[in-house]
Symmetry: C3
Subunit: 440 residues, 3 copies
C-alpha cells in the first residue's frame, strides 16, 4: 500500500540491504533530500533563463529562444551523463587527475545512490552554464548550430575546467575557492556567450554606420517585461538551491549564512543597477534592474559561504553597478551584440564574485580575504583561476564556434532574421493571433 | 517567540505528547517534510498544465482554460477529501478491499499526522489525473459540464482504479508495479480525455469535408509558445516531486535513482520528439518537442524506481518518438480532436511506461523485466493492469460524459465557440487591450 | 572535491567546531532545511504577486507593476536586515520588549546559524506584507514614492506590530494566536494598501459623475488572465512554505495538519467566490475566483495549525464569499479604487482568519474556540489584536502616505497616467511590438 510511508521507509532501508543499511542514517538521508531538492530548484532556473531571454528579445523570436533553452538542457543532460561526468569527476587510476578526469563515462549503475545523487546535482549546474549562451546569441543564430555548440560545452568545455576546481584538479589543490560556481559555471557560460556573440556578429540594424562614419547603436526593446521579470524571480528562487545546496551537506550550519548572503547580495545588486541606470539614463530602467538582480546573484555565488551579511551587500551592490557599466561597454564600445546582457551578468560579475572571495573571504574559520588578513595570497589564487579558466573557455569556444561556422554555418540568412526565427526556423508563430508590428 | 525555532521544535515534540513522542523520530520527521515538499512540487504541476494548455490553444479561450485548471483542483480537493480518499485508501472492515475501499469518508481528525500527510500527498496526484482532461476537451466544452465531470473523476473514477494498485487491491496483490502513476494517474486522465474529446466532438473547422469527400485537417496554432514552454518547465520541475517523493520515504536511497532516470528520460523524450518531427515535418517542431518532454516524463513515471540510467534513456526516447506518431494518428486517422495532444502524452505514454517495467524492471533487487529475466510474467501483469484500468476508465468516462451530455449538454453553441469561451462563458477577455485577429 | 557530499557533511560538522558540533544534530539540521526551503517557497510568492497584479491591470502599466514588486523585496530586504529585524526581534536588555525590540540593528555575524536562518525565514514574510500594497495603488502611483513607502513599512510599520505578536510582545503575552500571519502579515499589508489607495485617489475615469449626480463605476479589465492565474498558482504553491514552515520545526507532526487545512481552505475559498460571482453577476468570474483562492489562503493563515479539515473548509468557503462582497463594497460603496482587490483579500480575509481562531481553534490540545469551548475569551483576544494592529497600521500608513504626498508627491500626472506608467516612469514599453488598443 502506497500510503504507508513510514513502514515503507523502514523497509526501503532494509531492502537496500548490505550496501547501505549501516551507513545510511539520518545524515546521509538528509544530504540526499537536500541535494535532490537543491537540484530541483536549480532545474527551475532553466525556466527562469527561458523567460528572461524571451522577455528581453523580440516577439518574432520567442519560440526559437525557448526551444534553445529546452534543448540545451536535454542535450546537455544526455552528453553530461555519457561524457561530461567522466571528464569532470572521473579519476586517473585511483586518484583525481590534475587536468582531467578519465573514467566513469556512460556510467550505468543500478544501485549507487551516491553517484546518482551527485550526478543529478551536477547536471543542473552543467546545464546552467550551457544555457547562458542562448541569450548572448539570440535572434540570429541557426538552431541546429546551437544544438551542436551545446553538446560540446556540456561534454567538454564545462567539465574540464570544472574538474580543475570541483573535481579535485590543480586549482582546488592550490586553494582556489568557488563555493557555488561564479567561475566554474557562470564565467564559463559567459565567455562562451561573449565569443559566440562576437563570432556570429550583431543583429541586422544593430550598429549602423551613418554619415561621417559615425556608428549609431540601436536598442531592440524586449517584447514582454512581465515574462522577463517572472524569469528573474524564478532564477532568484532557483539560486537558493544553486548556492544553498552547494554546502553539499544537509546538516551543515553554513546553509544559513548562504541564504542570507544570497538574499542580500541580490537585493543590493538590484538596487545598485536601478540607481546607476536612474542617474545615468534618467530613468529607473527595468531591464537593467533585472540584470542587477542577476548580477548580485552571480557575484555572491563564489563567496556566498565565506562572507558576512554586510560584505554580501557590498559585493552585490558593486556587482549591480558593474553590470550596467559592462552592458554599456560591451554594447557601445566593444560593439558586441549581446541582446540580453548575458556576458555582463555571468562573465563580468562571475569574475567579480570570484575576486571577492580574495577580498572578504573567511574560509573554514581562516580569514583569507585581503581586507581581513592583509594578504594577497588568496586574491592571487583567485585571479589565477579566473585567468586560466578564462583562457580555456575563451579559447575552446573560439575554436568551436569557428568550426561550426565553417562547417554548418552559424547564422541564419538576413531574410530569415528579418522574418524572425520562429517562422524561419520552426515554421511556428510564437504568438499566433496577436497583431504585432511588422518592423519588430 | 516565533523565531526560536530550535526551542519550539523540541517543544512541539513534547506537546505532541503521548501519541507521537516516542515514534516520531528523525525518520518520521524526514518522511513528513519529504512528502510535504514532494506534494508541493506536484501542486505546481497545476500551473504547468494551465500554462501548457493555454499556450497551445487560442487566445480567445485563454481565461476559460486556466479557469478549468483552477477549478478542477479545487473541486477535486474537496471531493477527494469527502469521498475519493475513502474509495481509494479506505478498508473493508480491517483489510483493504480487493476492488474498493469503503471507510474514512469525510474523515476529519484533529490529530492524525500520518493521515494528514498522506492525504496531502495523494490529493495532488488525484488532481493531476483530473486536469489532463481540460486540455483534450479545450475550446468547446461548457464550463459547468466540465465542473461536473471533474467532481466524478476525483470522487469515483480515479480512486477506485487507484485502489486496485496503490490502495492494496487486487492488482497490487498480483504484483503490478506502477511506481509513481503512469497507469494510476496518467492513463486514467488520458482515457477520460480521449473519451471526452470524442464525445464532445471536434472544434468547428477542424475537419472539413472538401470536394470528393476528402477531409482536410486544420491545425489551430497555440497563442503563446513562451507560456507553453514555461508550463513544460513547471511540469518537469513538479515531476521531481511526483516521481521522487513516490519513494514515500525521505530516507530511501532509491530517491537518487529516481531523479536520474526522470531527468534522462525527459531529456531523451524531448530529443526523440524533436528529431522525429524534424525528419517528418522538415522542421524542429516546438509543440511536438514540448510534448516529447512530457512524453518522456510520463513514460518514466511507472519504471523510474526500477530501471538503470541507460534504460531510462531508451524508455524516454521511445516515448518521445511514440508521442509524435500518436498525435498524428489520433488527429489524422482517428479524427479525434485533442487540441494539446494530452491523450497521446498521458494515455499512450502512460501505457508505454507501464509496459517498460515489464521489459527493463528490477524490482527490489529482483530482475522482473523481460530483457533481464527472460520471462514474460511481469509484462503480463503490467498488460493486465493496463487493460483492466483502461476498461474501467474508458467505460466510466463514456457513461459519465454521455450522461452529462444528455442532461446539461456538454458543448457550447457554435456561436459561442466562434466568439471564444472567454467572452461566452466568463464574459471576460483573456487579453484585454491586445489586438487579436478576429478569425483566431 | 565537491561531489563528495557525505564526507564534506561530516567535515562540515567538525569544522563548525566548538560552537555547534554538540548541539547540531538531526533535529537542528532538519529545522534548518525546513526553514530554508519554506523561506524559498515564500520568496516565490513575490513572483506570484507580480503576475497576479500585472495580469489584473492594464498592459500599459505592466513594467511598472513588476518593477514595484521587484523593488519592494530588494529595498525591504536591506532595511529589514538593517533596522526591521531589530525592532521586531530585538530585546530591551535581556528580555523582549512589550512594545518594541531595540537591539540587533545592522547585525552582522559571520557565524550565527540560528540568526541567519531565522532572518531568512522572517525577511520573506516582511516582504510579503510590503508587496501587497503595490496592487492596491497600481496604475497611478509614482515609482519613487512607492520606493519610499516600501522602506518605511519594512523598517517600521510591519516590524513593530509584528513584535507584539511574534517577537514576544504584549499580544503574544495575552495569548493572541496568529500561526502564520493573517494579522501580522496580511492585514498590515492590507491596511497600508487600503489607506494608500484612498490617499492616492482613484484612477482617472474610474468614478464618473453623470447627469443628476449619479456616479458610474467603471471596471478596467486586466490584460492577461493567464499571467494572473499563473500568479495565483505560484502564490498557492508558496503558501505551503508560508503556512507549513511556520511550524518553525521540521520535526513537528503539525506540519501535516497545516498542509491539509491550507489546501482545503484555498479550494473552498475558490469555490465560494466562483459560485457567489456566478449567482450575483450571472457568470463564473475569473478574477473573483482567483481572489477567492487567495481569500481562502489568507483566511486559513492564522488558524491553519489549530483547526480540523472540516473547519478549514468552512473558513475558506466563507472567506471566498466574503472577498466578493468586500470587493464590491470597497469599489462601489466606499469608492476606494483598489485595482486588484488586494485590501479585500488581505485585510478583510486577514481579519476573518484571525477571528476564526477564536471560533474553531484548538491550540496545543486546548479547545479555545467558541464552538468547542463555549467561551469568548480567545475570540476577545483575537479581536483585540485585530483592532490594535489595525489602529497601528492604519494610523502609521495614513501619516506616511500623507507625508510622502506632501513632500515628493504620491501620484503621477493625468497625462502620465493616460500614457501609462511604463512609458512615463520607465521609458520602456511592457509589450514592445504588440498592438494594443490606445484607450487601454
Amino acid at each position: 500500500m502506497r500510503k504507508k510511508g513510514i513502514t515503507l521507509g523502514v523497509m526501503g532501508l532494509v531492502a537496500a540491504g548490505s550496501l547501505f543499511a549501516q551507513e545510511w542514517g539520518w545524515s546521509e538521508s538528509l544530504d540526499m533530500i537536500w541535494l535532490f531538492l537543491g537540484a530541483a530548484l536549480v532545474f527551475i532556473m532553466q525556466a527562469g533563463f527561458a523567460m528572461v531571454e524571451t522577455g528581453l528579445t523580440r516577439a518574432k523570436n520567442a519560440t526559437n529562444i525557448v526551444m534553445k533553452n529546452l534543448m540545451d538542457f536535454c542535450i546537455g543532460a544526455i552528453v553530461y551523463w555519457a561524457i561530461g561526468w567522466g571528464f569532470m569527476y572521473g579519476t586517473n587510476g585511483d586518484v583525481p587527475g590534475v587536468f582531467i578526469g578519465l573514467s566513469d563515462f556512460f556510467k550505468n549503475p543500478m544501485d549507487d545512490p551516491v553517484y546518482h545523487r551527485d550526478w543529478f546535482f551536477q547536471v543542473v549546474f552543467a546545464a546552467t552554464s550551457a544555457t547562458i549562451v542562448s541569450g548572448s546569441m539570440a535572434e540570429r543564430t541557426q538552431f541546429k548550430s546551437y544544438l551542436i555548440y551545446t553538446a560540446f560545452i556540456s561534454a567538454l568545455i564545462y567539465p574540464i575546467s570544472g574538474h580543475w576546481i570541483w573535481g579535485g584538479g590543480w586549482l582546488s589543490d592550490l586553494g582556489f575557492h568557488d563555493f557555488a560556481g561564479s567561475t566554474v559555471v557562470h564565467s564559463v557560460g559567459g565567455w562562451a556567450g561573449l565569443v559566440g556573440a562576437a563570432v556570429v556578429g550583431p543583429r541586422l540594424g544593430k550598429y549602423v554606420k551613418g554619415e561621417g562614419g559615425h556608428i549609431s547603436v540601436k536598442a531592440f526593446p524586449g517584447h514582454s517585461m512581465p515574462l522577463a521579470m517572472l524569469g528573474v524571480f524564478l532564477l532568484w528562487f532557483g539560486w537558493y538551491g544553486f548556492n544553498g545546496a552547494s554546502t553539499l551537506s544537509g546538516s551543515s550550519p553554513d546553509i544559513a549564512r548562504v541564504c542570507v548572503t544570497t538574499t542580500l547580495a541580490a537585493a543590493a545588486g538590484t538596487i545598485g543597477a536601478l540607481f546607476t541606470s536612474w542617474i545615468w539614463f534618467k530613468k529607473p530602467d527595468a531591464s537593467m534592474s533585472m540584470n542587477g538582480a542577476l548580477a548580485g546573484l552571480v557575484s555572491i555565488t563564489a563567496p556566498c559561504g565565506v562572507v558576512s551579511p554586510a560584505a554580501s551587500i557590498i559585493i552585490g551592490l558593486l556587482g549591480g553597478i558593474l553590470v550596467v557599466l559592462s552592458v554599456e561597454f560591451i554594447d557601445k564600445t566593444l560593439k558586441i551584440d549581446d541582446p540580453v546582457g548575458a556576458s555582463s551578468v555571468h562573465l563580468v560579475c562571475g569574475i567579480w564574485g570570484t575576486l571577492a572571495v580574495g577580498i572578504w573571504g573567511n574560509v573554514e574559520g581562516t580569514a583569507v580575504g585581503l581586507l581581513h588578513s592583509g594578504g594577497f595570497a588568496q586574491l592571487g589564487v583567485q585571479a589565477l583561476g579566473i585567468v586560466t579558466v578564462g583562457v580555456w573557455a575563451f579559447g575552446t569556444s573560439l575554436i568551436l564556434f569557428n568550426i561550426i561556422k565553417a562547417i554548418t554555418g552559424l547564422r541564419v540568412t538576413a531574410r530569415e532574421e528579418q522574418q524572425g526565427l520562429d517562422i524561419s526556423e520552426h515554421k511556428a508563430d510564437g504568438y499566433a493571433g496577436f497583431q504585432i508590428f511588422s518592423n519588430m
